[in-house]
């Protein structure tokens, strides 16, 4: 076909490229299922159609060489599809090679605009032989040829062979059908740059929204408040939608792994079964791009160093076929990726020895290292335990590069290994890098943002507690948090901030409980402000050396606030020392305990009744001055966070409690469900305890779900849903959803 219009031609080529790369990835995948013998009756049809489409399109836009190469494989596939030939392992290898050759040409076309002048005649000859049913000389040479493919000297271009008549017919029919089905009606292709720009604009909009919301907070003008609230909701929705457009399932990059696993394991003479779970887990595309190479490297490493050869495995009473599991899932606003193998595990002694040989550690250090610390040596630059440098791993890109790349995007890598049982790499990465929820705190007159992912809970110590709650262990401050010692870090001291007189005089202690690298610590700040969505902006080169800041953001009032890097801060404060292995040993214990123990809030309503509710039901504890209490209809209400919070006097609903005298300020337990909140008015908040909950008596009284012995006293468990239903029958009936 003559080239009438250059732009049109380019467009056609682009379409061909996108379509063909997708198609060939699919081709590889399907070939592998066929190799495993798991192919569906339709599988051969699918791979045939992929090649057929490429051939047809290439022919249409005058790419003769691609067409002719595609043609040879197509002929073979058509015979296979029609059951005229049986698929054999050499055929699969040859066809995969053939897919590589096509990809190679397409890549060349993408880069240079030409089909390239590489010679594929050897490959084509092999395919033709297979088609004719002639046996290959031997299986091994085919293998070697696969790797020598790209080094072949260019000879003459393969002549296009005439296709058998049977095939010719199908082509004509399909090519006609193809033209009408290429455009999908529901999806469009959008330039990624355009999406990035959109994301930046939304980022700016979020900042402007924050400013407006803060500004209107002081106003009482109802129209303005309304408009601000709508702006607020719309911005959040817009932000989520734009975020979603950039999300891609992790399966997109995993699609290439079966092929890599197959090639690498064949080359190394290993048998490996790859299992992938959670392909549909979605990630921001910038993150997807960033983890592609590290993941590929880890997988190559697992096959090369992890999984043993079949004979070694059989000798160790393991199935000859090694298992490699890739798993992705969302957890706590992060994406977790685990790469597990059931190989030989990491040889602690050998790693130590290697590190010593390479002078990465001193003998003294080596002796004192825990297993976990030894595993982490693998991430040191210049470390490689492979006995010999193979084609597969040991290309000068070590695990240190993997670690740096993952940390660059705010992720972390952890390694667990057991000798003879296998190795697991756990990668945690944020969902997105652009906009994150954060807690704003103040210390030394400066505001700081703490990413919500690091935040566990907030503790406020008042009066007596503030003076006695914090104990010193050889000068190191600690706080007892539900029976565990929580090391404390003072943000003022760590950052060398000046404390204002106001802050010095304040009797209360605010502790932000944080988690870094699996360890908890408490950070003492002067003031806890609020949570906010912040737009993460990078710091200039001049400030890159300070590890305790992850970036900066612009607050609602236009001022800049620094974002704390919790891990960096923990290291600065020496909370994370490498000698303890707490995180690993403590976790299982905590899990079993969580099953039968519950955290309860103890309080009084009326003079004598001692009550408890599970802390998980409590959204917040608040105090309201009596003068703020208003009446709406026959109910007490209070304005709370831009909403009207109905108040329920608990004592009114408890048949036995004496009527409570009104206190000032009023103590309120805020309970939220499905976006609606209600305040339960109590007389006094007593304590928060962790108890094994055994309900002793089930005699139902109004508003009471049962009784238990807590701290050696009989305590009634409040029936919160029952009380709310009695006070406001509509509360559960029509869940109002403002923020879907």
């Amino acid at each position: 076909m003559a080239i009438n219009n250059e732009a049109l031609q380019q467009q056609l080529i682009n379409d061909l490229l996108i379509e063909s790369f997708d198609g060939l990835d699919r081709f590889d995948r399907e070939m592998l299922t066929l190799e495993k013998g798991e192919g569906q009756p339709d599988t051969l049809n699918i791979v045939f159609r992929v090649i057929h489409t490429i051939k047809g399109t290439a022919g249409c836009i005058g790419l003769g060489k691609i067409e002719s190469v595609a043609h040879v494989g197509e002929s073979l596939l058509s015979l296979l599809r029609d059951d005229k030939l049986k698929l054999s392992p050499p055929m699969i290898t040859a066809l995969l090679e053939y897919s590589d050759a096509l990809k190679d040409m397409l890549r060349c076309l993408e880069k240079t605009g030409h089909q390239g002048d590489k010679d594929y005649s050897a490959l084509l000859e092999k395919l033709k032989n297979l088609q004719a049913g002639e046996p290959l000389p031997a299986e091994k040479p085919a293998e070697e040829q696969c790797w020598g493919l790209f080094e072949d000297e260019p000879v003459a271009t393969a002549p296009a062979t005439p296709a058998p008549a049977v095939v010719e017919k199908t082509i004509v029919v399909d090519a006609a059908a193809r033209a009408t089905t290429s455009v999908s009606d529901t999806a469009i292709r959008v330039d990624v740059g355009q999406l990035d720009k959109l994301m930046n604009l939304v980022g700016e909009l979020v900042l402007a929204r924050n400013q407006i919301v803060q500004f209107t907070g002081k106003s009482t003008e109802p129209t303005l408040l309304n408009a601000a609230q709508r702006l607020n909701i719309l911005t959040t929705e817009l932000q989520e939608s734009v975020m979603k457009t950039r999300m891609q399932p992790i399966g997109n990059i995993w699609a290439k792994f079966p092929r890599i696993v197959r090639d690498v394991s064949q080359e190394l003479g290993k048998q490996i079964k790859l299992v992938m779970e959670g392909q549909e887990t979605e990630l921001d595309r910038t993150i997807i791009e960033a983890i592609k190479d590290p993941l590929t490297h880890i997988i190559r490493n697992s096959i090369d160093h992890g999984v043993e050869k079949p004979e070694v495995r059989t000798a160790a009473n393991k199935p000859a076929e090694g298992l490699l599991i890739l798993r992705a899932f969302h957890e706590g606003g992060q994406v977790n990726i685990e790469i597990m193998d059931d190989g030989q595990g990491i040889n602690v002694a050998r790693v130590k020895q290697k590190a010593l040989e390479k002078n990465l550690i001193t003998p003294d250090q080596a002796a004192g290292f825990s297993d976990r610390e030894v595993f982490n040596l693998i991430f040191l630059p210049g470390f490689s335990t492979a006995e010999k440098v193979t084609n597969v791993s040991g290309r000068g890109v070590g695990m240190d590069v993997v670690k740096t790349n993952i940390e660059k995007i705010g992720g972390s890598v952890d390694i667990f290994s057991e000798a003879g049982q296998g190795t697991t790499l756990k990668i945690k990465i944020p969902l997105t890098l652009a906009i994150i929820p954060a807690l704003i705190v103040t210390s030394g007159g400066e505001r700081f943002a703490i990413p919500q992912v690091n935040l566990l809970e907030l503790v406020r110590l008042e009066g007596e507690q503030a003076r006695k709650g914090i104990e010193l262990l050889y000068g190191a401050p600690v706080y007892r948090l539900r029976g565990h010692l929580l090391p404390l870090v003072y943000l003022n001291r760590e950052l060398k901030l000046e404390q204002s007189a106001d802050e010095k005089n304040s009797g209360d202690v605010q502790i932000v409980v944080l988690q870094a690298d699996g360890r908890q610590f408490g950070m003492v700040v002067n003031e806890i402000n609020d949570t906010e969505e912040i737009v993460v902006k990078p710091l200039g080169k001049q400030l890159k050396g300070i590890s305790c800041f992850a970036g900066a953001t612009i607050m609602g009032d236009g001022k800049v606030a620094l974002i704390l890097d919790v891990l960096g801060l923990a290291q600065l404060a020496k909370v994370i020392s490498e000698t303890r292995d707490r995180a690993l040993t403590e976790k299982p214990e905590e899990q079993t305990r969580a099953d039968d123990r519950q955290t309860l809030l103890l309080f009084n309503a009326g003079e004598n009744s001692r009550l408890a509710i599970p802390l998980s039901m409590v959204a917040r504890l608040e105090e309201f001055p009596l003068k703020d209490i208003e009446r709406a209809g026959d109910q007490d209400v209070v304005q709370y966070r831009g909403q009207i919070l109905p108040l329920i006097q608990i004592s009114q609903f408890l048949s036995q409690a004496e009527p409570a005298a009104q206190q000032d300020p009023m103590q309120v337990v805020v309970y939220s469900e499905a976006g609606r909140s209600v305040g339960l008015v109590v007389t006094k908040i007593n304590d928060i305890v962790e108890e094994t909950l055994a309900i002793k008596r089930d005699a139902p009284r109004r508003g009471i779900a049962g009784s238990a012995v807590i701290q050696d006293k009989v305590t009634d468990l409040l029936d919160v849903p029952g009380i709310i239903r009695a006070a406001d029958p509509d509360f559960y009936r029509e869940p109002k959803k403002e923020n879907p």
Partner: protein, 154 residues
């Protein structure tokens, strides 16, 4: 404009007259509210919000080892473009944009010592006074300074 002349944005610093090439200057701003960065090298005065972009502000007096600004005097920002994006140089006062012939340029005298020797490209001998030309790329590169600050912290 003849080929042998250049335009300079000028400013004052401790009574000295400085200039940076106009092509390197993005904009000039009055005093901006600044966020202090704890643990940062002392040369970094803070961060400013430049229409949604976060810009590091460098105290040029400190950078050039001049006496500190009298407290209460608010510095002005000369925002320059560097390889690393926009950076603000804090100066005492802004002067005019001047166009100067190349033939009055001279390399810095040998007697110029210390950090100034590194950061001053040369001197224009103007009729009424001398104009010191600042090498912006070197001025905003604090790699040596940062390392020093780190040592002090540890």
């Amino acid at each position: 404009m003849s080929q042998t002349s250049k335009q300079y944005c000028t400013f004052f610093l401790n009574g000295l007259f400085f200039g940076v090439e106009v092509l390197n200057v993005q904009e000039v701003l009055r005093y901006q509210q600044m966020t202090h960065v704890p643990l940062a090298p002392a040369t970094v005065q803070g961060l400013i919000n430049l229409r949604g972009q976060i810009v590091t502000a460098i105290d040029l007096r400190h950078r050039l080892e001049l006496p500190a600004r009298v407290s209460g005097e608010l510095p002005m920002n000369v925002v320059v473009r560097s390889e690393d994006g926009a950076i603000s140089l804090l100066v005492d006062e802004i002067g005019d944009v001047v166009e100067i012939e190349d033939d009055v340029f001279e390399a810095p005298p040998e007697t110029l010592r210390g950090v100034a020797r590194d950061l001053i490209k040369g001197v224009y001998k103007l009729k009424e006074r001398l104009l010191l030309v600042l090498d912006t790329e070197r001025t905003v590169n604090l790699s040596g300074v940062t390392a020093l600050a780190k040592e002090q912290n540890n």
